[in-house]
Each structure stands twice: as structure tokens, then as C-alpha cells.
């Protein structure tokens, strides 16, 4: 009797309360957890309110004019809106910015397409060569487009070009270095180890210094490439050393039976590597390669130290406009968000591909 009574009494509350309590459980398990939850909630609300107040409530948005910013105490987004072209494309001639924009789209599309397992075929290499040629033509001009020297390149295209060129040019070098490190010839092996370990032991900044300070002394003046190419050279060698270690990991994962079988079929060293070992090894390391691409996107930001106009330098240049109140926090936040969006979405995409690939396999 009492059982039924209490049940009928509890009924109206239960279906409503239980899911709520279940939801709350991880926040309030133990007294310590309750205290932690309250503290963190207070912190989040406090910081969140400050941010909201600064970035939204009191922010200056439109019209994108200096007067809008002068009137508020919050963030000056008007500046970022007004200067977004200059920040994104640097000192590239404004009339030709569509070319720089197209370059960005082209590079990003290639990167996304290359990460998909269905495109890991030999033609991918040719696609990259075609993309790089197209990028050079669009960015540099010639053949019907007006010429733009590398000294006028700037902003996001520079970041992306340096990334894909360093990886695209570093990749063949990396394969040679990785094969060299596993070679039976002592001279080849020693040289490969020496190159890989020296580059990996040095900060990228010091390599950029070598390229910008030392190279002009090492090379005859006629052969000396411009500043952009020198920085790219440093980034390429850097990428090659790191990629070589990634590829070596893949090579080590291939059972020795594969090369023995190839030898038994009468294939020589280069044919064995090209037809049997490398296709399998590179397939294994693709997830690690996407990681290297993210690292390179981040690392290209160092070229600002040797005076190239990447995103940060063009942001700094935009900030020097005397008509505006120089809102550097907002500008660098905007630049940080661009990098974050690129790296984060690429990382998530790679994760997704890796997971879906694993499901298919297993």
C-alpha cells in the first residue's frame, strides 16, 4: 500500500528530475568537485563577461572609420574591417588582389584534396607540381598578367606559398634523405644522418639567419636568389629533415619480406623502392604528414624576423597608419584566429580521415 502511494506521489517529479540529475552528476560528484565546479563557473562567467563586454557590447564595428573607434571603450573591429585587405594581402598591388585570393583558394583546395585517401595516387605528385606552377604564375605574373616581384608579395598568400612550397620541394629531398639514412653505403648513410640531425638540432630561426645573413657571403652575387627564395630555401631544408624522419618511420614499418620478394623478382634497388616500398611506406605516414603541414603553417610565421611580409608583418604595417588609433590587440587576435582556423580545421579534418580510414580497415 505505502509503496504504491509513494510511487504515485513521486511520479510527476521523477521523469523530469532524473535526466537533470544525471546531467548534473559529473559536476557535483564529491564536495571537492562541487567546489571546483563553482570556482570554474565563477571564473568562466567573470572572464566571459569581460570578453563579451570588450568584444561585443562596447565594440566599434560599422561604419569602418577611425571616428567609430574613438567613440567606444571596447574592441576596435572597424580597424580590422577597414584594413582586412591590407592585413590579408600585405603590399600586393590592390588592383591585383584577386590573384592573391585565388592563390589562397587554390592552395587550400589542394591541401584538403591531398589529405583524402582516395587521392593518394601517383598523379597527386603531378597535381602538386601543376598547382605550384599555377601559383607562381598567378602570384608573379607574366604570360598576360602584370608582373609582381616577390618583394611585393605579402600576407596570407605568403604564409600558404611558403608552407606548400617548403613541403612540396622538401618532400623529394626527404625521401632521398630517408632512403640514404637506411642505405647500406656508409658514406651515404653518414651524410644523411649528419644533415638530418644537424637541421633538427638547430632552431629554425638560426637556419633563417644562415639563409639571410650567411648566404649572400657564400654565393657569387650573380647566383644569389632574392630574400623570399632564400627564406624558402631555409624552410625547405628544415621541412625536408623533419619529413625524412616521418618517412623513415614508414619505411621501418614495412616488413623486410617485401624487399626480399622484390629482389627475388629481379627488381633493382630503385625499382624496389619506387614500386614496392615507398608507396606502402608513404601511405602509412600520411596522418603524420598532415601533422607536419600544420607545424609548417605555424613555422612560416618566423619569416617576419628576416623581413618578409607575412601576415604578422602586414598586420604591423597596417597598424602604422597614423589616422587610426593602432588597435594592436584586435589586429593580432584577428591574425591569430586566421592561423587557428587554418591549423585547427586541418587537424580536425586529418583526425576525421584517420578515423574513417581505420573503420574501413578494421
Amino acid at each position: 500500500m505505502t509503496d504504491t502511494a509513494s510511487n504515485t506521489l513521486a511520479l510527476p517529479i521523477r521523469p523530469f528530475l532524473r535526466p537533470l540529475l544525471q546531467r548534473l552528476a559529473p559536476f557535483v560528484g564529491t564536495p571537492l568537485n562541487v567546489a571546483l565546479s563553482l570556482l570554474l563557473l565563477w571564473l568562466i562567467l567573470r572572464v566571459g563577461w569581460l570578453l563579451l563586454d570588450w568584444a561585443v557590447v562596447n565594440a566599434a564595428l560599422l561604419p569602418a572609420k577611425p571616428e567609430t573607434c574613438a567613440a567606444t571603450t571596447g574592441a576596435c573591429w572597424s580597424f580590422v574591417i577597414a584594413k582586412s585587405g591590407q592585413i590579408l594581402f600585405g603590399i600586393y598591388p590592390p588592383a591585383e588582389r584577386w590573384r592573391a585570393g585565388l592563390v589562397c583558394v587554390l592552395i587550400l583546395t589542394t591541401l584538403v584534396a591531398s589529405a583524402r585517401p582516395s587521392s593518394w595516387r601517383p598523379w597527386l605528385g603531378f597535381a602538386w607540381v601543376a598547382m605550384m606552377a599555377l601559383v607562381l604564375w598567378l602570384m608573379g605574373g607574366g604570360f598576360g598578367l602584370s608582373r609582381v616581384p616577390t618583394s611585393s608579395w605579402g600576407g596570407l598568400p605568403v604564409t600558404l606559398i611558403l608552407t606548400v612550397f617548403a613541403i612540396g620541394l622538401g618532400f623529394p629531398m626527404a625521401i632521398l634523405l630517408a632512403l640514404g639514412r637506411r642505405s647500406g653505403l656508409p658514406v651515404v648513410r653518414t651524410l644523411s644522418v649528419l644533415v638530418i640531425e644537424t637541421i633538427r638540432g638547430l632552431p629554425l630561426l638560426s637556419l633563417l639567419f644562415v639563409a639571410s645573413i650567411l648566404l649572400p657571403l657564400l654565393l657569387p652575387e650573380a647566383l644569389l636568389p632574392d630574400k623570399f627564395v632564400r627564406a624558402l630555401l631555409a624552410l625547405t631544408i628544415f621541412a625536408a629533415a623533419y619529413l625524412a624522419e616521418v618517412i623513415r618511420g614508414g619505411l621501418q614499418a614495412i616488413p623486410s619480406g617485401q624487399s626480399e620478394a622484390a629482389k627475388a623478382l629481379g627488381l633493382g634497388y630503385w625499382n624496389t623502392q619506387r614500386l614496392i616500398i615507398l608507396p606502402q611506406a608513404i601511405r602509412i605516414v600520411i596522418p603524420a604528414l598532415t601533422n607536419t603541414i600544420i607545424v609548417m603553417i605555424k613555422n612560416t610565421s618566423l619569416v617576419l624576423v628576416v623581413g618578409l611580409f607575412d601576415l604578422i608583418s602586414s598586420g604591423k604595417a597596417a597598424l602604422s597608419d597614423p589616422d587610426w588609433p593602432a588597435p594592436s590587440t584586435e589586429t593580432f587576435l584577428f591574425i591569430g584566429l586566421i592561423y587557428f582556423a587554418l591549423a585547427f580545421s586541418f587537424a580536425r579534418f586529418a583526425d576525421f580521415l584517420e578515423r574513417s580510414g581505420m573503420e574501413k580497415r578494421g
Binding site: P26, F27, G29, N33, L36, S37, L40, L41, I44, G184, L185, P186, V187, V188, L191, T198, G201, L202, P203, L204, L205, S206, F209, V210, I213, L214, P216, L217, L218, L219, P220, E221, I294, I297, K298, N299, S301, L302, L304, V305, I312, S328, T329, T331, F332, L333, I335, G336, Y339, F340, A343, F344, A347
Partner: protein, 380 residues
Amino acid sequence: MLQDARFRAIAAQMLLTIGVVAIMFVLFTTTARNLELRGIPIGFGFLWKPANFQIAETILPYSSSDPNWWAAVVGLVNSLFVSVLVILLASMIGLFIGIGRLSQNPLLRGICRVWVEVARNTPLVVLLIFNYALWWEILPLASEAWRLAPGTHVSVRGLSMPALRWSESGVVPFVFLVASVACLIGAAYAANWRQSVTGRRPAYLAVAWPLVATGVALLLFMHRDAISIEMPEFRRANFAGGWSLTPELTTILIGLTFYTAGFIGEIVRGGILAVRKGQWEAATASGLTRAQTYRLVVVPLALRSIVPPLNSQYINVIKNSTLAIVVGYQDFMTVVSTMINKTSHAIEGVAMILGVFLLVNLALSALLNAYNRRIAIVEH
């Protein structure tokens, strides 16, 4: 003869050697000609001439009339100071982030996740420049400095903290302190060894700890005049005395620590996740508390998968500390590049940079590898 594998191997290697030597020779001769054309002398003699430039913030004493080699040493110590501090701070914070990402509390998990994602997906240069911009934007003037703790203030002029000062008679308790800590560590090792041999832990450690602690406390009390805490004081426009860090140093410390802690957090998380569930269950079944389970089972097991990637993170900290240049903190790289600009000894300067970083990184990785070998699984 071309069909002979051994002949081809030798020929290929000889060709490669000749190629490398030829390239070196060409580079060497063009360099010599370039230097001659520009009238740049070569040699390390400049290192003994006065540096003639300022270093704003130094750990070692320095003035601009000191020789160039001393300036380089001062810069290197600045670099190592930043690296060591960042490694210590980031390891501690990273440990908490790694554990926090596995917490049951969604709020804590979320905050740690955001930290890790921001650190991993933003270039360090951008983080540093953003930090530096933020510093000047939000911090108050020195006269209205924020008080973080007694004697600790932060303002646009930097961070000032109380400093521990020792006078000469303070050496006695200091030496005693170091010696007694060393003895205790030795005793702990001896106790571990005895436990592994006899199965019983000797009791002397339980007595030794409080004894030594009392002794040190007594000595400190007797020499209390020799040791003092110097509080920074506000005078006119800024704080004086105590220990003060410039905005540049504080920015790079905060930025690099934030960045590295995110990476270490992921390493720690991976290491804890790599400990099998059976180990947790066995520990619980043996009656260990949660804290004991962590200390005696999970941490020793997790360390094995944490230490190798952690080692490369520590070496990354040393490499990343060179980015101090973007906020203008004068580390080794900045000092040497100033030297290059002033003396135009570019080849020697860059050689110094490359040599020193290779040496420091090789030494550190040898040290860390030795540690890794010690904790790695020993197969009997």
C-alpha cells in the same frame, strides 16, 4: 664492370664524396673572394674587443665596455634562464592540464581542452606578439600597479617580486641545507636498495627527515639576520629593489610557458591513457587509495611513455626560446645578431649560433636519454 654491385657501390660513394667536397670548395673560394671584395676581415679576434652595446636585462653582471665574448655568454645565460624557467613551469602546468583533460568535471575538461587547442594551433610568434600587445593595452601604470600577492606587483613596467637576499654569514646555513638535502637523498636511495634486498624498509628515514628539518630551521633562526626578504618599494615612477622582470621577459615567459604546457598536457594525457585498465583495477583490488594508485602504479608506468616525447619538448623549448627576438628580449640569438651588425663578422657570428645551439641541444638530449634509459622497462 658496371654490373658488379660492389664496384657500383664504391663508385657511387666516391662520386658523392667528390661532389660534396667540390661544393664545399666552391663555397669556400667564393666566400673568400666575397670577403676580400668587401674588405671584411675574418677571425675571432673581435670577441676580445669591447662590445659597445647595451643588454637591457641580464642575469650575470654586464656593462657595454665588457668584451664581445662576455656579451655572448651573458646572452646565452639569458636564453638558458628563460628555457629552464619555462621547462619547470610548463612541466608543472602541463601535468595539471593532462590530468584535467581526463577529469570527470566537464568544466575543467573544457578549459583544459581549449588551452591545448589554442596552444597547438597558433604559431608561437603570434602568441608572443599578441601577449606583448595585450601587456601594453591592459596593464596599469606603475603607480596603480595590480597587487597579486604581498610584495608582488604587475604594471606596464613589468613584474616585481620579493627577493631573497643572503649576506656572507648566510653561507653557513645554505651549505648545511644543501649538504643535508644531499644526505637525505642518499639515505633514501640506500633505503630503497635495502628494501629491494631484504624486503624491509629501514626505519632511519622516518627519524632523519624531522631531525634534519629541525636542524635547518634552528640554523636559519640563528642566522636570521643574514637572510632577508627584500620587498620591492614604489619610488617615484617605478618599483625598486626586490626582483623585477621586464615586460619583455615576462611576456616570453608567459607565452612560451602557455605554449609548451599545452603540448606537455597532451603528452601527459596520452601517457596516462596508455596505462592499461587492468593496472588500475589491480591497484584498487590491492587496497591502494586513489592517490597511492597514482603515485605507485600509474605515474611510474605512464612515465615510460611520457619521457621520450617530453625530452623532445624540452629541446623544443630551447629552440623556441630564440623567438624572444620578436618581443625584444635579449637572448643569445639577439645578442649575437647585434654583434654581427656592429662588427660585420657574420660568418663567425652565425657559426657561434649554430655551434652553441647544437652543443646545448646535444648535451641536453644526452642527459635526458640517460634518464630515459634509467626508467625504461628492464627486461630480466
